[in-house]
Amino acid sequence: MATKTHSEEHHHDHEEPHIVGNSVYIIVWVALMILTGITVWVARHNFGVFNIVVALGIASIKASIVALFFMHLKYEDKLTWTFALYPLFLLALLIGLTASDVFYRLSP
């Protein structure tokens, strides 16, 4: 038999949640509002091919603020970080390998 019973349940979780004060959430909100304002402002200017870079750049900064502070990623362990970063790797794959199709098609 691979198992034996034991009288007590064990709990190996010793993680204590990091308490984030209200001020952090207010700062996050203000930062998001400012960045939204910047998004609207840059939309009135033409940066040529960099239009999309600027728009996605601001969006990425906003998403990072939400993930790091609002969702507490900054205070999490390595495992949570792994699960948070792996999708970014997949996103890079999706964009990169799709680009290997889109940018190399023979023009008709």
């Binding site: 019973t5 007590e8 390998l97």
Partner: protein, 537 residues
């Protein structure tokens, strides 16, 4: 601790509470697993009947029972229901729910209410599918643009249903990942996990990370249909092949959402009925993760003749060949586990052996299709149909049937008729091969897939295939009746009918609501058979 009170209460099997609401509102992972099992089995039988209708249409050239449009609707229904309602949620949700907590020594999954929520989402998706049948879609299960944008049938409702099923799948995956990380019993290290749990873990990662992409893709399709935004329409600056890139970014990993749990299942069945430890446990565990990782790198092998760039086609053809490595490790190790084992041909074992044999054919024909030059000839022919059914029926469904027969005593506390089960297996095995092997030949001769008609020279092979499908249908019917009869007429099942050392067999059949009287302390991995363990039996 509250444990001693549980120990003092009498054993009440999880099945005991009666009434439909005691099921629909239950957060017990075993009940949710059984509800999924009933739902996916129903979907399988209904979609199976639609495939028999297709085979009947194809028994002779010309129109026999349905016209071309009805045939398009039939294969769309068959594909959609089989893929999204049976085989994707399939083994992962039904067996995963029932088995993972039992195998890791937990009382339930990490988020029981979320688990029930996933099942309700599944039901909601299924309801929307049924409504969409008022004007059934005819696009095939892949919803390729531009046809899916233009057809007058109800694509929007159907894809909405699938979108909701996707949410169900994501939440199940999340739940299982957290459960396996956080709720393992004391002593249950990663290298003592059942391979089925490893398989469920790899599947859950795919469910969590790949499914959002198909959700977004279907949403883009709906937006294009409703608002006329040009994501995929070249006239508006869109790209129809982009749809295929996005769709297969999910749908190739989805193939492994379908098959990995079946790999897990037979990795449990084979050691028990060979009375030997699984060969190369760690290689088996890590090859599951390797398959999950590589599955994200190969999607465009479905698109070689779509007009995509040759550079990309070459890259994807190369990457596709990488899948063969971890898959071959698995086939080799299952075979090596059998070597010099004391093999018992229980019906579950027959299905497991069928999987090794049939999946190998399915896998190797996949190598043909992944090769650029060969694929140009075989793409969209019956060769592809045969290949994918050897993988999906020969792999997943064989694993599913094997699992049904293997864990039946644990799930329901009853035994089924083993002789009838073997007869049903033989009919299924023969019927399956008679149906699909001729389709390899039809494909190489140039018979295209998804056609309601064909020239007379293909008649005899199509006729043979239809006869095979009827044998297969009779086999599945006998199996179903046998398993259902066991519920009412079967003998009472012992706790551990196969002398398995795995944790789920150490609790009563059927298990009590809280699974374990006391949470066990695990001291070894669950495959200690043979010389190492003289006390067994």
């Amino acid at each position: 601790m509250a444990n001693h009170t549980i120990a003092e209460t009498l054993y009440v099997p999880y099945l005991d509470e009666k009434g439909i609401l005691s099921w629909l509102l239950s957060t017990d992972h075993k009940r949710i697993g059984i509800m999924y099992l009933i739902s996916i089995s129903t979907s399988f039988l209904i979609a199976g009947i639609s495939s028999l209708l297709m085979r009947l249409e194809l028994i002779a050239p010309g129109k026999t029972i349905v016209d071309a449009h009805q045939y398009n609707v039939l294969f769309t229904f068959h594909g959609t229901v089989m893929v999204f309602f049976f085989i994707v949620p399939g083994l992962a949700a039904s067996l995963g729910n029932f088995l993972i907590p039992l195998m890791i020594g937990a009382r339930d999954v990490a988020f029981p209410k979320l688990n029930l929520g996933s099942y309700w989402l599944y039901l909601l998706g299924a309801t929307i599918l049924l409504i969409s049948l008022l004007k059934p879609a005819d696009t095939g299960w892949t919803f390729y643009t531009p046809y899916s944008i233009k057809t007058g049938t109800d694509v929007i409702l159907l894809t909405t249903g699938i979108f909701i099923l996707g949410m169900s799948s994501i939440l199940t995956g999340l739940n299982f990942i957290v459960t396996i990380h956080k709720l393992r019993a004391p002593g249950m290290t990663w290298h003592r996990l059942n391979l089925f749990v490893w398989a469920s873990y790899a599947t859950a990662i795919l469910q969590l990370l790949a499914t959002p992409v198909v959700g977004i893709t279907l949403l883009l399709l709906i937006m294009e249909r409703v608002f006329g935004i040009g994501f995929f329409d070249p006239a508006k600056g869109g790209d129809p092949i982009l749809f295929q890139n996005f769709f297969w970014f999910y749908s190739h990993p989805a193939v492994y959402i379908m098959i990995l749990p079946a790999f897990g299942v037979i990795s449990e069945i084979i050691p028990v009925f060979s009375r030997k430890p699984i060969f190369g446990y760690k290689a088996m565990a890590y090859s599951l993760l390797a398959i999950a990782l590589i599955s994200f790198l190969v999607w465009a092998h479905h698109m070689f003749v779509s007009g995509m760039s040759e550079v990309a086609a070459t890259i994807f053809s190369f990457l596709t060949m990488l899948v063969a490595i971890p898959t071959a490790i698995k086939v080799f190790n299952w075979t090596a586990t059998l070597y010099k084992g004391s093999i018992q041909l229980h019906s579950a074992m027959l299905y497991a052996l069928s999987l090794i044999f049939l999946f190998t054919i399915g896998g190797l024909t996949g190598v043909f299709l992944g090769s650029l030059a060969v694929d140009v000839h075989l793409h969209d022919t019956y060769f592809v149909v045969a290949h994918m059914h050897y993988v999906m029926i020969g792999g997943t469904v064989m694993g599913f049937f094997g699992a049904l027969h293997f864990w039946y005593p644990k799930m329901f506390g009853k035994m089924f008729n083993e002789k009838v089960a073997k007869v049903a297996w033989a009919l299924i095995f023969i019927g399956f091969n008679v149906t699909f092997f001729p389709q390899f030949i039809l494909g190489t001769l140039g018979m295209p897939r998804r056609y309601a008609d064909y020239p007379p020279e293909f008649h005899s092979l199509h006729e043979l295939s239809t006869i095979g499908s009827l044998i297969l249908g009779i086999g599945v019917f006998i199996m179903t009746v046998n398993l259902l009869r066991g519920l009412t007429n079967g003998e009472k099942a012992p706790e551990n009918p196969y002398n398995s050392v795995s944790l789920e067999w150490q609790v009563p059949s059927p298990p009590p609501h809280e699974n374990f009287e006391k949470i066990p302390v695990v001291t070894d991995y669950p495959y200690v058979y043979g010389k190492k363990n003289t006390q067994e039996g």
